[in-house]
């Protein structure tokens, strides 16, 4: 558990303050195929179907991402 938290904090620290991608370079990141859970209906239906036969529902992640423009 502590290792996982460390990994997440490290990932965050790597991202903070670093110009990994400039705004002018986000053309591909803004494409719909690069957005996590771009189709919320599909995501919820998938989880709904799986939770009736798998004991590990939930916690897949959150939608968004891509261009990083909240």
């Amino acid at each position: 558990m502590r290792t996982l938290i460390f990994v997440m904090i490290a990932a965050l620290a790597v991202g903070c303050g670093r110009q990994a991608v400039r705004a002018s370079e986000k053309q591909f990141l803004a494409d719909q195929v690069m957005v996590f859970d771009d189709d919320p209906h599909e995501s919820s239906s998938n989880e709904h179907m799986r939770t009736n036969r798998e004991g590990a529902a939930g916690g897949k992640g959150a939608g968004g991402g891509g261009c990083g423009c909240n």
Partner: protein
């Protein structure tokens, strides 16, 4: 059906960090699971509709509705008794969600409420999500929390011990005066409480102009009645209601990666997840997908997924319950708590229309017609070593190659 609503409550418990776009979507999923002749099956029609709009510059409002129309049959699966008659059932559930969001230049916070109802279950949830883009706008941190205060209709077993408790049956009345709360019917049914607290932290990171990554850490505490009130477990000569612990603590960690391939106008997607809970279920899944643009208006995605889990610590094979009689403090025949492996393959086609100066259908900036199909293969794994009558030998999945199929059709519009 109760278990499916618990499941949906779990799914809905951490709402997605919503897109800033105004969007509306309608879709329907048809799910068909076929089991070996005479041992039941399941058909679910799952329509959804959602609508989101900006109220001025800083406020968003979202409404969503989902339903389940379920019909099927559940077999008594203990082949020891050679009971193969399936019990038919059908159910109809409704769920509505309302969200209010506030967005700034780099941050967003959303509050939501969800209410779901069906014959034997009431789901009520309040929650919120918040996300912020860190300086550089390459890192997004999101947090989410929900509290569910659900109610499950159970048989009124009075002071009976677990081994004496009877299961709920379809004819038992589950009263819901005023819809939002259940009312006990003395000597017949009793509404049990179930509290679900869920929290999630996500970090989404742009790694390069063509690659992004997301980590998610999920935790959940479930406290209250979690058995399926209808499910019976044969223990020696008796068939008491399933009895499982009231407390379940769950957590998972997942990582997802997208990589765009500009020369191919395509993208590859990778998803991996590890899960564990206080019932000692360990599971993992890996998913791979590939998206390919075909011309300007077609997008094809193919995907595959493998999932495997261990059994809950109190899960015993039906053969064990039947022959050993002493089941222990808890007993269940729930396949979600059994050792299983699932494999799925599927494809999705999106027909995309982008409006230029003239909106599509006079309204949408972008409109997508979506069609998706998936096949699923289920494999029950041995719960006990060297058991010739083990769950893997007798369980419900048939001898056919494909165990279930789902088809989804949808229309998604951004305006």
């Amino acid at each position: 059906m109760t278990s499916s609503l618990v499941a949906l409550a779990v799914v809905a418990a951490v709402p997605s960090i919503a897109s800033a776009d105004d969007r509306t979507e309608v879709s329907t999923v048809l799910f068909v699971e076929q089991r070996e002749g005479g041992k039941g099956g399941l058909v679910v029609v799952h329509p959804q509709a959602s609508f989101g709009i900006d109220l001025g510059r800083f406020v968003t409002f979202d409404l969503a509705y989902a339903a389940d129309v379920v019909s099927g049959a559940t077999a008594t699966v203990y082949q020891v008794d050679a009971i193969s008659t399936a019990t038919k059932f059908d159910d109809f559930r409704n769920e509505a969600t309302m969200s209010l969001g506030f967005q700034g230049r780099r941050s967003r916070i959303t509050f939501s409420g969800t209410f779901g109802t069906e014959r034997d279950y009431l789901s009520r949830q309040l929650g919120g999500t918040a996300s912020i883009d860190l300086p550089g706008r390459n890192t997004t941190v999101g947090v989410a929390y929900t509290h569910g205060f659900d109610q499950v209709c159970n048989k009124d077993n009075g002071m009976a011990t677990p081994l004496e408790s009877k299961a709920l049956v379809g004819d038992d009345q589950c009263e819901k005066p005023g819809i939002v709360a259940g009312k006990d019917t003395a000597g017949v049914t009793k509404w049990e409480g179930l509290s679900i607290d869920t929290a999630q932290v996500t970090i989404t990171q742009n790694l390069s102009p063509t690659m992004n990554l997301q980590f998610a850490l999920f935790g959940q505490i479930q406290e209250g009645f979690q058995s399926n009130p209808y499910r019976r477990v044969r223990i020696g000569p008796n068939s008491p209601q399933e009895h499982i612990p009231d407390t379940r603590n769950r957590w998972s960690f997942s990582a997802r990666l997208n990589r765009y391939l500009p020369k191919l106008k395509a993208a590859v997607h990778f998803d991996a997840r590890f899960y564990n809970d206080s019932w000692e279920i360990y599971s993992g899944n890996v998913e791979l997908a590939y998206s390919q643009y075909l011309g300007k208006s077609l997008l094809l995605r193919i995907h595959s997924r493998v999932y495997q889990q261990t059994a809950a610590k109190f899960f015993k094979d039906a053969f064990f319950y039947e022959t050993e009689s002493t089941a222990g403090e808890y007993f269940t025949g729930d396949r979600e708590l059994a050792p299983v492996r699932n494999v799925a393959f599927g494809g999705k086609l999106a027909i995309i229309s982008i409006g230029g100066e003239k909106p599509v259908w006079g309204l949408f900036d972008k409109l997508q017609l979506l069609a998706k199909g998936e096949i699923m293969l289920f494999d029950a794994l041995p719960a006990d070593a060297d058991n010739p009558m083990g769950t893997d030998k007798q369980f419900i999945y048939g001898s056919s190659f494909i165990d279930a199929v789902s088809i989804q059709l949808g229309l998604l519009g951004n305006y």
